[in-house]
């Protein structure tokens, strides 16, 4: 099953490499990984999406917790949560394609953030399926370049992951 694990990490050099190293060392998957400092600059927030059996996921969370620099973590998929990913896509846009793409972008509630005579750059946020859906809708033949941020997640409601 796919899981989203959210980690508060000491914002120190080398801490991220320990997390990444753990995954390869123990043969765990990383599908996406995002990391950035939080409002408290001594902490980074890291979101990793991974897949595995319940047993593997249990080991992943336990092994992550063992890393000295991991302060706290939560498996967001255990409760209601919001997940978002940001995508920037460069699309071939000439002639009648331009209106067509504009319509699709609107349907997906994206924005065209840069324009040339032959190219649109589109920005889109949502869960990973929505982003996949957009690519499908515009068709891969028109896609010049895709960049995705990887998933960020947060729990719904009152629950917070903090010190």
């Amino acid at each position: 099953m796919r899981r989203i694990i959210s980690v508060l990490l000491e914002n120190e050099p080398g801490a991220l490499s320990r997390v990444v190293g753990l995954f390869s060392q123990r043969n765990y998957n990383i599908e996406t990984l995002t990391v950035a400092p939080t409002e408290d600059e001594t902490l980074s927030r890291l979101t990793v999406t991974t897949t595995g059996s319940d047993k593997v996921i249990e080991q992943i969370t336990k092994q992550l917790n063992k890393l000295i620099e991991v302060v706290k973590l939560v498996d967001l998929t255990e409760g209601a949560h919001i997940e978002r990913e940001l995508m920037l896509v460069k699309l071939k846009a000439t002639g009648s394609q331009r209106a067509e793409i504009k319509r699709t972008v609107d349907i997906f509630r994206g924005q065209i953030v840069d324009v040339t005579s032959s190219v649109y750059t589109v920005q889109l946020a949502g869960n990973s399926e929505k982003l996949d859906g957009f690519i499908q809708a515009v068709g891969t033949s028109g896609v010049l370049e895709v960049v995705r941020s990887g998933v960020s997640g947060i729990a719904r409601g009152e629950k917070v992951l903090s010190l």
Partner: protein
């Protein structure tokens, strides 16, 4: 206010940490530190002949005393030479701090002379590693390093020290922190009361219980509590190779150790049990054999300080995360106060069954009229040292024979590389023990393959007068490899024959020690006595043993715990 250079701060911090010995080898990036070492006499440095040996020495010291060992090496090759030693300590959860020189911070990343990314290289085999970014941080980093190494599930910690952090004429205020604060590291200090209660209820209701104890009991200094609980319950106990000594081997409740080369009765009792109380062990593959066939009728209570050890390979019915001593203490109280008592009839029937197993096999081997059997060497040593020696070992058949036939009644006396299985561990580990236990007998039971992996340390033994006894069970082969080839490859002995062995007697003499060769069975006992009488000499005893001996019992690969070879021809 006291102003010290980084190098002086480092040594001063070691003093304040109470470190008496460090084992190491100098080189460019560590020279400021070595100079600071020279200008004091509290911390004593032992100069080894290879950095790997420094780490095994620190490791042997740590295993014998329960205190963290300390290593000091230079950058680059000095640091990389420690890796096997660090990995050995990591696999067996041994507390130690490895201080590594590093090129100046201004040179890092430029492929400078003797630059290696030691933080990166060591990452997968350390509990943690730390790098010094400012000299003023040194006391705090040292304090943290020992704290992390020695608490919770212990392990090795590497500290990387760029040369410009130890510059002699740059001085900073020295403050040794009283306490360490780590918001992200809080090892459990007690187990969950509800879980402990549940475990005790299960213990009382069990009909075929067994206690399965591991190295965690020794590391957690909980042998007294374990012994008390086991005696109160009257249940059988087995332990892992790493747990040897956690419960007296001579006691009748003790079934010997379990697993691949464990006793018949231990493996049978495990397989047929209805309740396993696992204390500080980790269901390692050398214990469980095929996990899907593991102990089909058993419910499992698992006590460990490391939550990640629980339900990693075998699911626990009742997990208890906590220090083993504290958890066992609570269990003892609950057992004492419990209204329920063990089912006397069921337990008696269980013991009857176990005694039958014990009578069927026990530990046995066939003797020969003329050949020296490795097992009888170990038995003789056990007798002649009253079972009280510290015994270190290397890896191979000799290691298994040592563990099988030397009966340990006390913890911290059996010292071997169980998790990583590092050939070359035995001699330096024995040196680490002897240094701090000069009046105790320290034996290194080794093989002619393993001993040659760190033979250069005979020189260190001379320099520091470390009269250990090296017992070389010389079968003229990489015996364990050969055994597997006999069993699984129709005796095709690919590269397991060791030709051109040195004359170990002359070799020992060349290093300034005594060498003794034993190749006649009738000389064994008398010559061993002579050797043990030479208290102040390192004696290298080269014993020519039966070249064709195999280690038994041996679990059948991919079978259950109870599937074993008992000799070359008997399989159960």
């Amino acid at each position: 206010m006291e102003l010290l250079s980084g190098a002086d701060m480092l040594i001063r911090s070691l003093q304040d940490e109470g470190i008496e010995y460090i084992y190491g080898y100098p080189g460019g990036a560590a020279l400021h530190i070595y100079d600071a070492l020279f200008r004091q006499d509290k911390v004593k440095h032992i100069l080894v002949r290879h950095e790997q040996a420094a780490v095994h020495m620190a490791d042997g010291y740590a295993r014998a005393t329960g205190l963290p060992g300390t290593v000091l090496v230079t950058s680059g090759p000095g640091a990389t030479n420690t890796i096997t030693g660090i990995a050995t300590a990591f696999m067996d959860s041994i507390p130690m701090v490895v201080l590594c020189g590093q090129v100046a911070s201004t040179l890092i990343g430029e492929d400078a002379f003797q630059e290696t990314d030691m933080i990166g290289v060591s990452r997968p085999v350390v509990k943690h590693n730390l790098s010094v970014r400012h000299p003023e941080e040194i006391p705090e980093i040292i304090r943290k390093a020992y704290y992390i190494a020695a608490t919770g599930r212990p392990g090795p910690v590497v500290v990387d020290i760029p040369k410009d952090m130890t510059t002699p004429n740059e001085r900073y205020e020295y403050v040794f922190p009283k306490k360490v604060k780590l918001r992200s590291y809080n090892p459990a200090i007690r187990g969950h009361a509800g879980q402990i209660k549940k475990a005790v209820d299960m213990l009382m209701a069990a009909k075929r219980p067994i206690i399965y104890a591991g190295g965690g009991v020794i590391l957690g200094k909980a042998t007294d509590q374990l012994t008390e609980l086991v005696r109160m319950l009257g249940y059988p106990i087995t332990n892992t190779l790493m747990g040897i000594g956690c419960y007296p081997a001579s006691d009748k409740q003790h079934l010997g150790w379990l697993g691949m080369h464990g006793t018949y009765e231990s493996n049978m009792a495990m397989h047929h049990s209805d309740l396993i109380l696992c204390v500080g062990a980790r269901f390692d593959d050398r214990v469980t054999n095929a996990t899907e066939k593991f102990c089909p009728g058993a419910r499992i209570v698992h006590i460990d300080i490391d939550p990640a050890s629980i339900s990693k390979t075998i699911d626990a019915d009742v997990p208890i995360v906590g220090p083993v001593d504290a958890v066992l203490k609570e269990m003892i109280t609950l057992v004492r106060e419990s209204k329920e008592k063990p089912d006397a009839e069921a337990i008696a029937a269980w013991w009857k069954q176990i005694e039958e197993w014990r009578a069927f096999h026990g530990m046995r081997y066939e003797t020969s009229p003329d050949l020296i059997k490795p097992q009888e060497v170990v038995e003789a040593l056990w007798r002649l040292t009253n079972g009280e020696a510290f015994v270190t070992s290397d890896v191979g058949q000799h290691q298994m024979f040592a563990a099988q036939y030397y009966k340990f009644d006390r913890p911290n006396r059996w010292i071997n590389s169980g998790g990583l299985g590092t050939m070359g561990f035995g001699l330096p580990a024995a040196m680490g023990v002897k240094l701090t236990h000069p009046d105790d007998e320290v034996l290194c039971i080794t093989g002619e393959g393993s001993i040659q992996m760190n033979i250069q340390e005979l020189s260190t033994c001379k320099q520091y007068n470390l009269p250990v006894k090296i017992i070389n069970l010389n079968n003229q082969a990489l015996g364990m490899v050969k055994q597997w080839q006999d069993m699984n490859y129709e005796s095709r002995h690919s590269e397991s024959y060791m030709g051109s062995l040195p004359d170990f007697v002359k070799l020992a003499e060349a290093y300034g020690h005594v060498g003794v060769r034993i190749d006649r069975k009738e000389d064994l006992e008398s010559k061993l006595k002579e050797v043990l009488a030479m208290k102040d000499q390192l004696v290298f005893v080269d014993i020519y043993v039966d070249r064709f001996e195999h280690v038994y019992p041996m679990q059948v690969a991919r079978g259950s715990m109870k599937d074993m070879w008992l000799s070359k021809t008997e399989r159960v």
